[in-house]
Symmetry: C2
Subunit: 249 residues, 2 copies
C-alpha cells in the first residue's frame, strides 16, 4: 500500500474469475468484458443514485436492459457490485483530490482537501454514498469503501511520520492507521450528522463544516476554540468543565 491508490483490484472473492484463459480468442473478449463490466457499474451507480441504496439486483439488471444472470456473470454477488461501485467512486474522488492537493502547500491544507472531497461526495449523491458504505450482511468485517479511504489517508500520514523523524513506541504504521481510521470515522460521523440535519436552521454550509472538521482533526476542539477566542495556539489542558453525567437515553 505504498501508493495512494485505492486498491482498484480488491478481494477477488467477490469478483468473478475470468473463465477464459489467455488462449488467443479469449483476449478478444477480455476487453469487451471489462468494458461491459464498467458499463454495468455506471448504470448501477445511476440507478442507486435515483432509486436509493435499497435497489434490488433485479432493478439494476432491468435498468441495464438485461437480466440478473448477466449481472451475476460480472459480479460474484451484491457485495462484489458494491465494491466495484465503490472503486469507481474512489477513483473519481482521487481525481478531485489530486487537483485540490496541487494547490495545497501545508499539510493542514491537504487534510482540509481530503475532508472537502469526502463531503462533496456525500453531498453529491447521498444514495450512492449510503450504498457504498453499507456493511454487507454477514460479510467482511470492513467495508471496502471506508477501508480504501482510510488507506488513502494513512499513506501520506505514515510517510510524514517517518520523514519527520518522529519516534514513537511500536510500529508507526499501526499508529498512522489507527489515526486514519479514526479521522475517516470523524468525517463520516460529522458528515452523516450534517446530511441528517439538512433543513434545520443553524446547519453549517459544506464549506463551513469542512473547515470545522479539519480544524478539529488537526488541533482538537481545545486548539480550535482557544484560537476562536484570540490566543491562537495554547490548548490549556487544565481547562474547565465538560464531560459529566447526563440524562437517560
Amino acid at each position: 500500500m505504498s501508493q495512494i491508490t485505492p486498491a482498484p483490484t480488491p478481494l477477488s472473492e467477490h469478483r468473478h474469475p475470468d473463465p477464459l484463459q489467455p488462449d488467443g480468442r479469449s483476449t478478444r473478449w477480455a476487453d469487451h468484458r471489462e468494458a461491459r463490466r464498467a458499463e454495468l457499474v455506471r448504470i448501477a451507480r445511476r440507478v442507486v443514485h435515483h432509486q436509493g441504496p435499497d435497489v434490488s439486483m433485479d432493478e439494476i439488471a432491468s435498468a441495464a436492459g438485461t437480466s440478473k444472470s448477466i449481472v451475476y456473470r460480472y459480479f460474484a454477488d451484491k457485495t462484489g457490485l458494491q465494491i466495484a461501485l465503490a472503486d469507481a467512486v474512489l477513483l473519481q474522488m482521487q481525481g478531485a483530490l489530486e487537483g485540490a492537493l496541487r494547490s495545497a502547500d501545508t499539510p493542514r491544507d491537504g487534510l482540509r482537501s481530503m475532508v472537502a472531497v469526502y463531503l462533496e461526495m456525500v453531498e453529491s449523491s447521498p444514495h450512492v454514498y449510503s450504498f457504498v458504505t453499507r456493511q454487507p450482511e454477514s460479510g467482511a468485517p470492513m467495508v471496502h469503501f471506508l477501508d480504501a479511504v482510510t488507506a488513502m489517508v494513512a499513506t501520506p500520514f505514515v510517510r510524514a511520520l517517518t520523514e519527520s523523524g518522529v519516534t514513537v513506541p511500536g510500529p508507526t504504521s499501526a499508529l498512522a492507521q489507527s489515526w486514519a481510521a479514526g479521522a475517516v470515522g470523524f468525517v463520516r460521523g460529522a458528515g452523516e450528522w450534517w446530511m441528517a440535519q439538512q433543513g434545520e436552521p443553524g446547519t453549517p454550509s459544506r464549506d463551513e463544516l469542512t473547515r470545522q472538521i479539519a480544524s478539529w482533526l488537526w488541533v482538537g476542539p481545545v486548539g480550535f476554540l482557544t484560537r476562536e477566542r484570540g490566543s491562537p495556539d495554547r490548548p490549556d489542558p487544565s481547562d474547565r468543565q465538560p464531560p459529566a453525567t447526563q440524562e437517560t437515553p
Copy 2:
C-alpha cells in the same frame, strides 16, 4: 414452553375500578408486558452475542422458547428490537460511565472515560455492537445507537461551551453536535479498525488505544506528536508533520 399466562399479576382488590380507565381487563397485563419485553431483549442480546448479528427473527423467537408472533407483539419490527437492544446497552454504558466520571476531574479525563466505555463495549461483544450499529434497510437515516451516544457526548460539551463563555458564530448547539458526531465517528472508526486488526502484531491494547484516541480528539495529532517528543503542550501550528501531498496512482 410456558403456560398461556405466566403470572399476569392479579391486581384485584388493591386497585379500585377507575371509571376513567376503560377496563381492568386491559390494564391487568401492563407490567407483565413490560417484564416480558425486557426478557425478550435480554434473550435477543444473548442470542446475538453468540450467533452473530445476522440472526433471524425466527431464531430469536425460538431461543426465547416461542414463535415470531410473540416477538412481533412486543416490537414493531426488527428495527424496533434493535432499538430496544441498543437502549439496554446504552443504559449499561451509562452506568459504567457515571462510575468512571466520578473519578475524573479534568474534562479530558472525562473524554477518556467515554472512549474507554465505548471501546469496552465493542470488545465485550463485537456481535452485539455490530447488531446495534447496523443501519436498518430503508429506514431512519440515523442509527439509534450512534445517535444516542452522540447526544451523550454533545450534552456535556455544549454545557462546557456555554459555561466557558466561548462565543462562536451561529448556534453553539450545532457546533457541539457536529463535534460530538465526529468524535463518536472517530471512536467508531478507530474501534472497528482495532477489532479488525486483532491478532496482527503491533495492534495496541485497548488501554493504549483509548489514550491514543482521547489524545487525538483532544489536541489533534500535532499536539499529540509534539508531546511525544518532549514539549508537552505546544502544538506549533506551522509544523512539519502529516497529511501532505502525495503522488499519483
